[in-house]
């Protein structure tokens, strides 16, 4: 939720250049007017920095990230990393989930958690991140949020191993790296949006819009392309998990692509990534209660397994009474 009192601070270009991800709303004051430049979670483009560095501009910046929360999550992840025994791992995962639940019940911005995850788990090379941003600004932002979400979903599904969590993060982050091709266009982006809103409708959209052969190829073959890129980078500890990228557009009735796999053939680890990638809309003020839970509520489980989703319901949403009521009434 956007706060009523806006606390702007002056931010130098050199300070902005130190960040990879924009941690708040960025404005430019000129001639008594304010121009909105950047959303929270957007990749800080080196070109942008270069452009404003020449003029040595100072921006108005409103941060949405709570540094304390971010640091606490980072500490928790580091603690998890050095644990070896099941009991300790499980207890730590409960602690993380409990803290997550407590913090985001207080309307904290999701980006605090997303940045903590990004700093602790992200293994994606800078060039690939830049490529994603340059292909589509929203593609990067979506990847950032979805990857962070995958960590919570994995923890809810009893995946405690740090390396496994890191792999889930990077897998979810790079699910759409296959789209980063020269033939990527506005139509492909729209098809992706349609696909996210209504699984299975992306291809129809492209056909309706008379998309070119290349555009269609980019859309239909991007899971396989992502798989290739991920394989070539070798950033995963569990290399076999790379195959998960092939499942991102599969549907429970076997009508998805590229392989038309049925619900009964998809494992929970694949479902975690698919489920996390299904975040429909990313609005600027992305809070857990209003956005993630809303998303969970709207999630129609058209994509494969319902077990991971149920576990997330069970472990993350247990005190959101209004949410429970909404779920029960089905409204």
């Amino acid at each position: 939720m956007k706060t009523e009192t806006q606390n702007f601070i002056k931010l130098q270009v050199k300070d902005l250049s130190k960040k990879i991800v924009c941690e708040g709303h960025l404005y430019l004051s000129s001639g008594g007017r304010k121009f909105y430049l950047m959303k929270p979670g957007v990749f800080v483009d080196p070109g942008f920095i270069k452009k404003y560095a020449i003029t040595n501009h100072t921006f108005d910046f409103e941060s949405v990230v709570n540094e304390n929360v971010k640091e606490k999550f980072k500490t928790l992840f580091r603690e998890l990393r050095y644990l070896r025994f099941e009991k300790d791992l499980r207890e730590k995962s409960f602690e993380i989930l409990g803290y997550f639940h407590r913090v985001f019940s207080d309307n904290e911005h999701f980006l605090s958690f997303a940045l903590a995850c990004h700093e602790e788990f992200c293994q994606v090379p800078f060039e690939e991140q830049l490529k994603m941003h340059e292909t589509d600004m929203h593609l990067y932002r979506k990847a950032l949020y979805a990857a962070a979400f995958s960590v919570t979903v994995a923890l809810s599904n009893d995946y405690y191993d740090f390396l496994m969590l890191r792999d889930f993060y990077n897998l979810t982050f790079m699910l759409d790296i296959g789209l980063c091709q020269s033939s990527y266009s506005y139509f492909v982006a729209q098809a992706c949006n349609e696909e996210n809103k209504m699984p299975g409708s992306g291809k129809e959209f492209l056909l309706k819009e008379k998309a070119s052969e290349f555009e269609m190829e980019v859309f239909l073959k991007h899971p396989a392309k992502s798989y290739e890129v991920l394989k070539s980078l070798s950033i995963l500890a569990f290399t076999e998990l790379a195959e998960v990228t092939l499942y991102q557009h599969e549907l429970s009735d076997g009508t998805g692509f590229p392989r038309g796999v049925f619900k009964g053939q998809v494992s929970s680890w694949e479902a975690i990534v698919i489920f996390s990638d299904s975040l429909v809309e990313i609005i600027a003020d992305y809070t857990f209660e209003n956005d993630v839970l809303k998303y969970l509520l709207e999630f129609k489980n058209q994509k494969l397994q319902d077990l991971p989703v149920n576990r997330v319901y069970k472990k993350l949403c247990y005190t959101f009474d209004h949410f429970k009521a909404l779920k029960e009434t089905g409204s």
């Binding site: 270069k50 099941e86 800078f126 995946y159 950033i235 076999e240 392989r259 053939q265 494992s267 680890w269």
Partner: protein, 888 residues
Amino acid sequence: MDKPQKPLTILNLTGELIPELAEYFSSKNIEVVDPLVNNEQKDWTHIITKDIHNFDHLNIVYDLIKQDRHVISLSKVLDLQNFTINNGNLILDDCWFKGPMGNFILDKYLQGYGGITLGDNYPVFKEEGSFNISNPFNTGEYLDRMVHKAFEGGVEALSIKTCFDHLMMYVSGLKNKGKAGFPIEVTYGTYEDIFAVQVHFYSKQLNVLDFSTSLSSSISKKAEEYLLNVAVQSTDFFDFSYMPEVSKVVMTTLWTKDERIKFENRGLMITAVEGGVPLAQYDNENAPASITVSGKEIPDFSSKVTIPSSVPDEVSSTVVKGSEESEDGSTVVSGSANGEGESSTVVSGNELTEDEVRLVQGGEVLEEVIQTVKGKVEEDKSIFKLGGSKLDVDKTVFKIASSIDEATKEKNLAVRSLGDSLPGSIKTGLFDFAKDLNKSVDDLNAGDLEKFEVQRIPDILKNELEASLKVKSLPGNVVGNSESGQMVKNLEARLMTANSEKEKLKTQLKAMASEVRILKESRNKLAEIQAKASQAAGDMIVKDDPSEKERKELQDKIGQKNLNDQDLQKINSLLEKLKQEEIKIRKLELESTQKDMVFNQQLEKAEREVRAKDLMLIKSKESFTKLIEKKEKEIVDFKSKTDQLSKALTTGASSTNNQIMKDLEKQNQNLNKQVEMYKLKISSMATNLQPSKSEDNLKDEARKLQMLNQQMKNQLIQSKREVEKLQAKVASDNSAMMTLKQDKAKLEAELKKAAHEVKEKTAAVQNSQSDQELKRLQAQNQVLETQVKDSLQKITNLEAKLTEALKPQRNSNGPEEGSKVKVTQLENSVKKLTQDLIDAKNQIAEAKKETNKLRQDKTALQNQLDKMKKEADKAKSAAPKKPGGKAA
């Protein structure tokens, strides 16, 4: 999973099916053909067997692999490896059909459905829990929970734990082979009194060898050869499914409380294992390159498959790849009755009979043979007895069919040779029995004797007893109460004795039989020895030395004194032979003495060695005793120390010790953490060394570059300023030069004027003004020189700074494109600056040239002035002196 499109036609080789199973097949309209009832040949999809443990021959006869025919066994199979390799994929005991699971399992098997979750695979089961395994050596608590759940349900926890542990080890083995991936997902649930555990994981390119090699029933040092077998044997039902489309293995295990199933595994199901088919396929040129399995055409990987060294001999012996060379224990049967020219290898320890050869050649179908002997192949023990080293069902079939049993022969012989040792009643009974059977006593076989023993002997003994009792009771005819009691006792005693007699008879029979056997064997042996002896004697006669005969003849002739020339020659030759023999004997004697000598020497050596060893032993014994003493002392010391410690602990130092212990533990933990930290740091360093640099590195580099950029910028600004200063100085120099030039011009003009005056006027005219001007010029010149020197010094300093600034720029080749651009920009600016410097240098050089010229002019002017002075002096001296007057 798609099943083949062809309709299910099942060949039943078990005889009569149990009603539940028959009902199941009829309800599903599945055609099941019993070869005893219907001899029709069809394209069988499945073959049902029972009590068969070797499926090699079945595979040959029914071409199981090529024709994609699956074997279902309704009884336990001893060799699971053999079963799986011969396309066997369902073992389901009859007892499963007494409960609800039998039909369900058959449905699942025949319809080929399944899934990842327990709910998809066995929908009737209620999920009780699940967990994921990222590290197979980290399953303790998960497993404890699962086992606890099973224990609550009354299922044997030990088997579950055994099974699960072995499964994990098996998956780890696959992972090491690169054929399995983590995580492993485990779900468990219950249905009525059945407990189920399901494990699934990612597995690429799994083939039949990957599980059949792990199904060995013999326990060896190589655990990977029997891990899966232990897991299977620990369960009541084991379902191994492979999903080739998504490369996943699903293993479901069931445990029941059913007493019939409790003691041994009664079920195994293997479905859709890709790559398994070509491995056991016989080489055939006409065979297709790819095989259709589960409705999908899969490529033939047989050429790529190499049998690992760990494969047991039994497995490798069944994998036949077209070679006609007969290996050890195998027989090659070339050609066939159909004349197709194929060859097949039958693994067997013994030679093949004619029937077997016919069967292998294809002249006779196995079921025809089986029909004739059906019902006899039941006991495995008999099979082992008859089959020799290798279990072979079909061979036993032939043997039983021929009904020539060595044991029965012996029994017959025993009975026939009983003679007079049997009691008369039994003899007569035996004759009567033989008469009843319309046979003579000699024709009775083992079965007849058994019948006689069971049916007749008790009656004969009874009759005998009754007769004897009658004989004894007749004389008195009146029996009192006391006597009747005695009689009963006597009767009981007689009955007891009769029973004992019966037992004795039995033992006598057995002893007789064994005696007969021994006698027979000894006779045979005697006959053999005699034959050998006679043969040897004959040979001896044939092999008699001819020289001996000649010698005898000669001796006779010497006795008779009838020697002729030939005889003398013979005597000579004999003497020569004798000499040679003597020489040989001497040689042999010499050799023997030499050998004795060598032998004695070696003996001595050995004795010495033994003595040395004894000494060593004694020394080592001594050292050991010393060591033992030392250790005993140490032990005593330790004991005393421990006593002291225990005393100290009891007296109250325990708290301090505990504190120390805790501190030490903490220290240890901290150290361990530090070690881990360092390890991680090292790993991160290692990753940083890789080409894909981490983000932190990039950030640092970017920061460094930015710093460098800033420094460069500052330097540039400084250098710009200095250049500006220099330019200003150069301008001032230029202006000074201009003034100098102007001065020079003025001086020249003045000089001209002065010269003109010198020419016109006489001496003693002017010099005071010119001297002053000269001094001024010299001072100006000096100032100019110092300015030029300063500017040169500054230029050199600037050059040095620029070179220093350029050095790090050249060295830092950052990975970022943006920084590269900046660097190039900086380089360009530096180039410009250097250009400016060069210009400035050129200007300075020009200024230098001009100053040099000016100097030259100045010297020339000075020379002129000197000349002028001299001339003026001369003129002064040469001027006419006025008498008494003053000079002007």
